[in-house]
């Protein structure tokens, strides 16, 4: 489950106490936002460098449990987070599912029920990845049985299918739709609120640069960090 929402610190850690490189393992879906946050963080902490390792959350979890020298882990799913840290993880953003459709919504899809119609080609994420779990939850809540043509490995692959017109609709995250707004439109649906996905973040216990890691996590949770994330379409927890 999602980490219990904690009181976000009112201000980032003092800049002076942090040195060296901070190594952040982050879910690939955070590539854009975290790259920005990293730059901002470096600007606020002269002499500190943030090194990112973006990848699938599960692969990152695997690497960390094999001893990867990470300070911070930001996962796209609580399940992957649990593989590396039982406690201490904080949910820093949530992401709501949205229906992605082709530009101009040619099939006039308006509700979740519309995507289950037989003439609509639907792509979902596989159950094993967070967006797939979220989709399953949404359809459960709506008491619908979807008939997808594919269960994609991750959000971006799903989105690519919509973009190239291979499918008519897909369930993805709002953030992904807004990132690709040039090519696709998003359709909100009410059940989404009950299928929200939590993104937990943690400073790892074996962190080579624990102080730096903590400072980075604090920065993500700070107002400035939030700002970047919500601009990209994430919801605050």
């Amino acid at each position: 489950g999602c980490g219990a929402p904690e009181q976000p610190p009112s201000s980032p850690a003092a800049a002076g106490s942090v040195t060296g490189a901070v190594t952040v393992f982050a879910a690939a879906s955070l590539t854009e936002t975290f790259t920005q946050i990293g730059k901002d963080f470096e600007a606020g902490h002269p002499g500190v460098r943030v090194r990112f390792n973006f990848g699938g959350s599960s692969a990152l979890a695997q690497q960390i449990s094999q001893g990867a020298p990470a300070d911070v882990f930001a996962s796209a799913s609580p399940a992957n987070m649990k593989q590396v840290a039982d406690t201490g993880a904080v949910t820093f953003v949530r992401n709501k599912p949205q229906i992605a459709v082709g530009k101009g919504n040619p099939l006039k899809i308006a509700t979740l029920a519309d995507v289950t119609k037989p003439e609509v080609k639907l792509a979902l994420c596989a159950q094993q990845v967070p967006c797939g779990a979220a989709a399953t939850k949404a359809f459960e809540v709506a008491k619908l049985t979807p008939k997808p043509v594919t269960l994609e490995q991750d959000v971006k692959a799903t989105l690519t299918k919509v973009k190239l017109g291979e499918v008519d609709a897909a369930l993805v995250y709002r953030t992904d739709v807004s990132a690709a707004a040039d090519d696709i439109d998003g359709v909100d649906f009410p059940e989404a609120i009950q299928a929200v996905n939590d993104y937990p973040i943690v400073t790892l216990t074996n962190a080579p640069n624990a102080a730096g890691g903590k400072a980075f996590v604090d920065y993500v949770l700070s107002e400035k960090g939030r700002q970047v994330l919500t601009t990209a379409g994430f919801d605050a927890p």
Partner: protein
């Protein structure tokens, strides 16, 4: 009988053994970490059987396509003096270098519903390759064909073209000479190329999932199942990989035996 010149030089044996260890150790790592206790549970799901069956069917079909298209292509590269042959040869290596996911995207651009060719397939025949088992086969064939073409071209270059000349003096057309003389002569090379091709197709992941998607029973091959299992339960991913390995190595070894048996 005493071994002939059995003293194998250390300067060769040591790197050879290191090389072998390098290839084998990771496998041993997988075997050690495999959850033997719960192995049966992991394997007994219907999806594993289905994915394995699909993998074998698709890899074999892809290999068949590669043989049908790739052997003539290799022959053209090796035996004719067509202009642009050098460029053609360079293009053959392209799918080797292209990251498979990009290969999948490229296939979508051509054979997808809105693709250069795919749009006509769709509007004229109502037929679409992505999300079908055929799509898996196409993706695997695209990625694996270079291995076949390069291996067979090498074999053809090594084969003595004078046998084809001998066939011509006996009245055989070039096609007949190819079929009845060249093909049987380079059969071992084709077999080796087909094995590389088949193995590559069997392990194919990125192009497949991008082009054909992932749906159990139609497009979910073992590597896709493994990848998704990794997301949730790395143990079962290990088991699935080992299953794939054991099955493929068993098939390769038994084919080799049958094939060698047939020659002796």
């Amino acid at each position: 009988m005493r071994a002939v010149r059995a003293r194998v030089p250390v300067a060769l044996v040591i790197p050879a053994l290191i090389g072998l260890a390098f290839l084998v150790l990771p496998l041993i790592g997988l075997v050690i970490r495999a959850p033997w206790a719960t192995l049966v549970d992991h394997l007994s799901t219907a999806e594993v059987g289905e994915a394995l069956r699909l993998s074998l069917i698709c890899a074999t079909s892809a290999t068949a396509i590669c043989l049908v298209l790739g052997v003539p292509l290799a022959w053209m590269l090796a035996r004719t003096e067509i202009p642009g042959r050098r460029i053609a040869r360079a293009f053959v290596t392209v799918p080797l270098v292209l990251p498979p996911v990009v290969g999948g995207v490229a296939l979508l651009l051509v054979f997808g519903r809105r693709g250069v060719i795919g749009q006509y397939l769709d509007s004229w025949f109502g037929f679409s390759l992505p999300f079908t088992t055929t799509g898996v086969i196409v993706a695997e064939a695209f990625v694996a064909m270079p291995f076949l073409v390069i291996a067979v071209e090498g074999a053809l270059r090594g084969a003595d073209p004078r046998f084809e000349e001998a066939a011509a003096t006996l009245g055989a057309s070039r096609w007949m000479a190819f079929r009845r003389v060249t093909l049987p002569t380079v059969a071992p090379g084709i077999a080796a190329g087909a094995v590389l091709c088949w193995a590559r197709a069997l392990g194919e992941f990125g192009a497949t999932i991008t082009f054909a998607g992932n749906f159990p029973g139609t497009t979910q091959t073992m590597p896709l199942a493994v990848y998704l299992a990794l997301e949730q339960d790395p143990d079962s991913a290990t088991v699935l990989s080992l299953v794939l390995l054991v099955v493929s190595v068993a098939i390769l070894v038994s084919l080799r035996d049958r094939w060698i048996g047939a020659r002796a």
